[in-house]
Subunit: 417 residues, 2 copies
């Protein structure tokens, strides 16, 4: 099968999905969940083969962990499909409507994109998750996982397609793209056949898809997130937020990677903050001023370079610098931000408003942890990723963000003058 064949089969399936009722799609999700649950043994065996191949290829233990499925992880993947069935269906929602002076009724209605391509890395749970979100939003899914998870993904997709078939939905609504690397390039060239491409993974993958794709892309997830502690910040509150945003789950895109401290509060804040970070096992990569505070309190600080301020560590590391004003903090953020989530801790209403207005990012936070920038925390129930682009969707993407709209105009013979 070529990409064209697969995309055309997906298009046919998408026509059925676009007309499917919520009840039919929810039954499909339940059937997919049942089928994956029944195939647990096959899925785990396939995963063992991927893990063995990965170990033979000297894959890092972090990557092997991402690749690993367990009975618990399979169960949570099954639960994820079932919980999608409980969410409202965005398709058919009337976004707005009005009547023209001539009496033509206009409604703007949510419709599926059609065919969505997802390009992703090691985690095989993304296979079921993305397929479920696409199905619920009425889209056919072309899934391009990584070769390291090929066996696991294939076993999951076989089960998902069996579920669709049992629910009388077209199995081609979920397809895995299997084969050599060139197929990824073909997928990115399939403009007109594929409506949207969504890369899910690390910065390198996303950058490559954004650069090379002729299919419209929704860019997700790279987060070099800043936390700015303003002169008027409550020190205890700032330390709580800093620790939560850095330590609670350092491997995700909404964790904080750079700390900026107003020099007027550095004496009060930095000694405590550096000690708290050290206790939490965080390595600080600091500017000279930060290093000086480190020496005072006996916390080692690594010298920071511009690379540190540009880094998305995704680890227990943080870059840190002092700034002389809110304006300097904004300039630093403008230079290094990836436009994901930027936080200010402040007691000043004026600073809060300036920061909110002037930072150009998917999310701006005032006195709250950036870890809240997440589809689950937003109450979306499902999340395909966090968009860091400005077109279509920006920030956490739930089911409505997986749709387009069309205008339906209804008249009684009106013509234009």
């Amino acid at each position: 099968m070529t990409i064209r064949d697969q995309a055309e089969a997906a298009r046919e399936a998408s026509l059925v999905l676009a007309r499917a009722t919520r009840a039919a799609k929810d039954a499909g999700l339940e059937a997919m969940a049942d089928a994956v649950a029944k195939a647990e043994v096959e899925v785990l065996e396939a995963n063992e083969r991927d893990l063995a191949n990965g170990a033979a290829a000297h894959m890092s233990s972090a990557l092997l962990d991402r690749l690993r499925l367990t009975p618990h992880r399979v169960a949570s993947l099954v639960d994820g499909l079932r919980s999608l069935a409980g969410l409202p269906d965005p398709v058919g929602d009337v976004v707005r409507g009005w009547t023209t002076p001539e009496g033509v009724q206009i409604r703007q209605v949510r419709v599926p994109f059609g065919v969505v391509g997802i390009i992703y890395e090691a985690r095989p749970n993304v296979t079921a998750d993305a397929a479920g979100i696409c199905l619920k939003s009425g889209n056919a899914a072309l899934l391009r996982g990584s070769s390291s998870a090929a066996e696991s993904n294939a076993a999951i997709v076989v089960a998902l397609r069996r579920g669709l078939d049992q629910a009388d939905l077209p199995a081609d609504a979920v397809q895995l793209i299997e084969g050599p690397r060139e197929l990824t390039a073909e997928l990115m060239a399939a403009r007109g056949l594929v409506d949207v491409l969504i890369p899910r993974g690390g910065a390198g993958l996303i950058e490559a898809v954004v650069r090379d794709s002729q299919v419209p892309v929704i860019e997700t997830g790279v987060g070099n997130c800043h936390l700015f502690v303003d002169a008027s910040a409550d020190v205890a509150l700032a330390i709580d937020i800093l620790l939560n945003a850095k330590v609670q789950r350092p491997s995700v895109c909404n964790s904080v990677e750079t700390l900026l401290v107003h020099s007027d509060i550095a004496d009060a804040f930095l000694p405590q903050a550096l000690r708290a970070l050290a206790e939490a096992g965080v390595t600080v990569h600091g500017s000279e001023a930060v290093s000086a505070y480190g020496r005072v309190v006996g916390v080692p600080v690594v010298d920071a370079t511009d690379d540190d301020f540009a880094a998305e560590y995704l680890s227990l590391d943080i870059a840190a610098a002092t700034v002389d004003s809110l304006g300097d903090a904004l300039a630093h953020i403008r230079r290094f931000s990836t436009g994901h989530s930027e936080t200010i801790v402040t007691g000043s209403q004026a600073s809060a408003v300036s920061f909110s207005n002037e930072v150009d990012a998917a999310a701006v936070l005032v006195n709250a942890s950036s870890r809240f920038v997440d589809g689950g925390e937003f109450g979306f129930g499902a999340e395909i990723g966090i968009s860091t682009q400005k077109l279509h969707a920006r920030g956490p993407m739930g089911l409505p963000e997986m749709t387009s709209t069309k205008y339906v105009l209804t008249g009684a013979g009106q013509t234009r003058r």
Copy 2:
């Protein structure tokens, strides 16, 4: 100046625009209008030079007409800028807002894109129009017009920038990209410097930008629009709509290019329709069945090929065929549609619903002329184009479609568990 220099100057200007109040932007629009009105003589003289160059280069009379400015056209361009000042400002609109269970307040707020590139063809009025729409929506504009209108565009931009300057807004909010063809390629490669590119012009231009741009593109305007006359249509109403949609302004993207007639109504409809089209000066490119009706009523019908059914004529030509069912009409539209505006004339509620649901286009019309698919008719007041893509905006794009959003989260020290 390189594209990078221009884009960086535009970025600086965009930061000022993003913070500018509606009052400041409206004053800017009025000042731009005043400045263009004052520069009428210079603008018309520059246009004369473009027209002379065009005539010397044997430009077609249709193109020369598009290129031509008159005192009336300059006045309408000035009026266009003033009328933008009267429209609501989309920036700062709260699209939605809610509070999380932890008490974090979330607001989704409209913000400008930042820097918008517009690539367009001969009409110099687009220069002022696009600059005005960008300014009102808080975006800096990089304008890349065609070389044939270089002198006119330069004169208009000089006036627009003088107006901005007089209104204490940064002149670099409106810049013309002047120079060789390679600059267009550079503009399309300026990912990260330019937030969105919008091509305005013919199918060739749009296709080239969509294919080559690494900057996100909003695809506008190619319309191979169909009109399907269902078996149960009111014949007189169908003929009214057909004539309006084909003849009222054939050169625009929302005019009808293909007529599909249910064979059950062909005897009642086609003889009258062919006579009416012939009287209106329309050349019909018909299938064999349509040609047969033409012979009966003595109206010449040109044999249609697949190229005719794929054509966006933008002239007094129409392709025509009979179909045996609504399903066949849908299949024909699926094959040839450019996803702009598709119309059914029907007396059947079931047909109206099927057609509305199953046609995949920016707009679907039931018993109304496709000429209503227009920002002005929609009541948007201003229109940058009609998007035929599924991401971000689909259909007529007004001022809100020229914005992105950001989430602002406000807390009192909340951290995530």
